[in-house]
């Protein structure tokens, strides 16, 4: 199983189409790094993006430098996955 320790999901609220484009550009800047769980759609909808731990600083700096407001929706994905796996094992027992 791949390990996602330290990976985070950031919830970003883009103000306008320009900011949505900046988010779409991120997929090109960081190929196969950022994983959109909710892709850039329209300013009224949040964008949820999974960022590997190794890219977190770069990506957060990018968001800040472009005035993109974000919150941390999932602080450490691996914690959720471990809980899920434990729950499945318990249910099986």
């Amino acid at each position: 199983q791949m390990n996602f320790t330290g990976d985070q999901v950031l919830r970003i609220l883009a103000k306008d189409e320009k900011q949505l484009t900046l988010l779409r550009d991120l997929e090109g800047l960081k190929p196969q790094k950022v994983d959109f769980w909710r892709g850039p759609a329209r300013p009224s909808l949040p964008v949820d993006m999974r960022v590997p731990f190794s890219e977190l600083k770069d990506v957060k700096d990018y968001l800040k430098s472009h005035g993109l407001r974000y919150s941390v929706m999932i602080k450490d994905i691996q914690v959720l996955l471990d809980e899920e796996r434990d729950a499945m094992a318990k249910s099986r027992r």
Binding site: F4, G39, R42, A87, M88
Partner: protein
């Protein structure tokens, strides 16, 4: 492995084998209503199995429901399993459901992307696509919800094989999609299709590949509104609704656009609940409430389909 579906936990997540085993027990225990149909094989040669709920007749009007086309969205498979059990266990008591099943058949494809689903258990929990590969291309997998013929290759999909929304080399190039296309086309009498995804809390109808409204836009708008209202009554969860391209984003080569253009007037895509904390990694404790509310929306759509034959 479980000996009967009654010991199966509908409020837990399960592996591919456990679900296939449940299917066999479930069909055996409800053989008067449920049968299992093998509609094809996946890229890695796993069976694609559909549950058919029928009270008889031949080639009746039918409703198609699929879950798990994006393999990491485990809440959708779990919802499909719960709904299957709900149909079988409440059929005799639920007067409306009995009317629906006396008029139509219901087909549920619970594991629409078996290779991807197996991979989420074995290697990568966050895998979304199928597992197909092409010579000379390093990245694996096609987004099965971008591989359908209608709108294929539009700007709501990606031609980069490494992208999560990679559309594939050609429409219906993926066996998981081709199997459904062949089955629905050969059956020829499907009247509604519901494709269940996660997450965003939306009930949407075509088109995704263009902003142009479909001919019966107004009927679909009102039906989606009724479905969302029925869903909200269960646990108070608010969904938005509308056409895919105006509610979410441009998406090309998607299931519901193909279904609509094939003549299935009542085609809907669900994006299940978003608690704002887990994305599609909903804890198992949310399986039953999510399935309960989703079922009421689906039941609303099926009732409308039954009452508006075409």
């Amino acid at each position: 492995l479980e000996r009967s579906s009654s010991s199966f936990s509908y409020s837990s997540y399960h592996t591919l084998d456990e679900i296939y085993n449940w299917m066999d027990n479930f069909v055996a225990e409800h053989s008067n209503l449920v049968s299992k149909i093998h509609i094809g094989n996946s890229f890695e040669n796993r069976s694609i199995l559909v549950l058919k709920f029928s009270t008889g007749g031949s080639n009746r009007q039918a409703v198609w429901i699929d879950t798990g086309i994006h393999s990491r969205e485990w809440i959708t498979h779990a919802t499909g399993i719960w709904i299957s059990n709900k149909i079988a266990s409440s059929y005799a008591k639920d007067h409306l459901l009995k009317k629906i099943l006396n008029a139509m058949d219901i087909f549920i494809d619970i594991i629409t992307n078996p290779d991807g689903f197996a991979f989420t258990h074995s290697m990568n929990r966050l895998w979304r696509k199928n597992k197909s590969s092409q010579p000379g291309i390093s990245c694996i997998g096609v987004d099965l919800n971008r591989n359908w013929r209608t709108g294929f290759g539009g700007n709501g999909s990606n031609k980069n094989p490494c992208s999560e929304t990679y559309r594939g080399p050609a429409p219906e190039s993926e066996p998981e999609v081709a199997a459904i296309v062949e089955f629905i086309t050969n059956h020829g009498n499907f009247k509604a299709l519901i494709s269940i995804h996660s997450y965003s809390q939306m009930v949407m109808y075509p088109y995704g590949h263009s902003l142009e409204p479909v001919p019966n836009y107004y009927e679909l708008f009102n039906l989606a509104k009724d479905a969302v209202k029925a869903l909200n009554k269960v646990h108070g969860i608010q969904y938005t609704f509308g056409s895919i391209s105006t509610t979410l984003y441009a998406a090309s080569g998607i299931t519901v656009d193909w279904a609509y253009d094939t003549g299935i007037k009542y085609a809907f895509s669900f994006e299940l609940r978003d608690t704002g904390q887990y994305g599609f990694l909903l804890p198992a404790s949310q399986i039953v409430p999510t399935a309960e509310e989703t079922w009421m929306a689906i039941r609303t759509i099926m009732k409308h389909t039954m009452n508006h034959p075409y």
